[in-house]
């Protein structure tokens, strides 16, 4: 499968981030911060009135988007992400990526992607790069052709 710089990875949408799942994640992380389950605590923190999704969950949406395109969790080699905003219960988020570099290393294809997580209708909450090895399992969408006159 040919991958070209600028191609888009298949995006991954979470149409409505579920507050109930934040409670489970709080337990899994032993995260005692009540902004993840108590609307009153969210208000007290000046963050509105909807529980705040955990950063690792936001990161996981991006990791899944890249891994499913690449062909599995074992394809992921490195991920660098910067947290730049919050995701709240009920938000529609979209993980997406574009191919930034393709090279050969030790006999295998290594693809570097720019990745991000956006709140649909809002801002970017997570951005960075992901590096995967091997031929990806799913096709990419070619980049929009650039008009050389522009």
């Amino acid at each position: 499968m040919t991958v070209r710089i600028g191609d888009s990875l298949p995006p991954r949408d979470v149409p409505s981030v579920d507050a109930e799942k934040m409670k489970t994640m709080a337990a899994l992380l032993s995260d005692s911060n009540p902004i993840h389950w108590d609307a009153e605590a969210v208000r007290a923190a000046g963050l509105g009135d909807r529980p705040v999704n955990q950063g690792p969950s936001n990161m996981a949406y991006v990791l899944d988007m890249v891994s499913s395109w690449a062909g599995g969790y074992d394809r992921l080699r490195r991920v660098r992400l910067r947290f730049t905003g919050n995701v709240f219960a009920g938000d529609h988020v979209r993980a997406s990526g574009t191919v930034a570099d393709v090279r050969r290393e030790d006999g295998e294809t290594v693809t570097e992607c720019d990745v991000r997580l956006d709140v649909v209708g809002g801002g970017t909450v997570l951005s960075g790069t992901a590096t995967v090895a091997g031929e990806p399992a799913e096709p990419t969408e070619p980049a929009e052709p650039v008009d050389p006159a522009e």
Binding site: V14, K21, T24, M25, L28, L29, S30, D31, S32, N33, A45, G55, P56, S57, M59, A60, Y61, L63, D64, S67, G72, Y73, D74, L76, R77, R78, V79, R80, L81, R82, F83, G128
Partner: protein, 150 residues
């Protein structure tokens, strides 16, 4: 937000401090619940790559609240995730037990135009197979931003 009784000298003194460390097992129930929370497909030999972060921080040997006290802060001061850099040398497996070790490798006081004074702290956690020997399965480098009040 913490009044800056925590000086730059205090901050510098934390660099190099090692985490007590510990072990973390990706039990099938943890794997299942985590995949459920982040809407990832169930099943398979490999654990979700977000476990690089979850396992590392769960077995670093201190709670988040304890870690914040290293920097003269509490959760009420509003510490924020800065960024996360995960190198994956081998995929994590469901049922795997991992040894976690790490240390604080950078801490700087900064001033932003909008953010005001804050401390940027970087720490590294390494995951190794259960016996703790050999090359790391993965390395997780995270940063925390501590807002400060002068």
């Amino acid at each position: 937000m913490t009044a800056v009784a925590f000086t730059e000298q205090d901050l510098a003194s934390v660099v190099g401090r090692r985490f007590p460390g510990g072990t973390y097992t990706i039990t099938p129930w943890r794997a299942w619940l985590t995949n459920d929370v982040v809407l990832a497909p169930q099943g398979g030999e490999h654990a979700h790559p977000v476990f690089m972060f979850i396992a590392a921080t769960s077995a670093m040997g201190v709670s988040w609240d304890e870690l914040f006290t290293w920097f003269g802060a509490t959760a009420a001061d509003g510490p924020l995730f800065g960024d996360c850099d995960i190198e994956i040398n081998r995929p994590l497996v469901v049922g795997g037990e991992y040894r976690v070790d790490g240390f604080v490798y950078e801490a700087q006081r900064k001033q932003g135009r909008r953010a005001g004074v804050f401390d940027l702290v970087r720490y590294q956690l390494e995951l190794r197979d259960g016996d703790g020997d050999g090359e790391p399965v993965g390395v997780c480098r995270n940063s925390i931003v501590f807002p400060r009040r002068i």
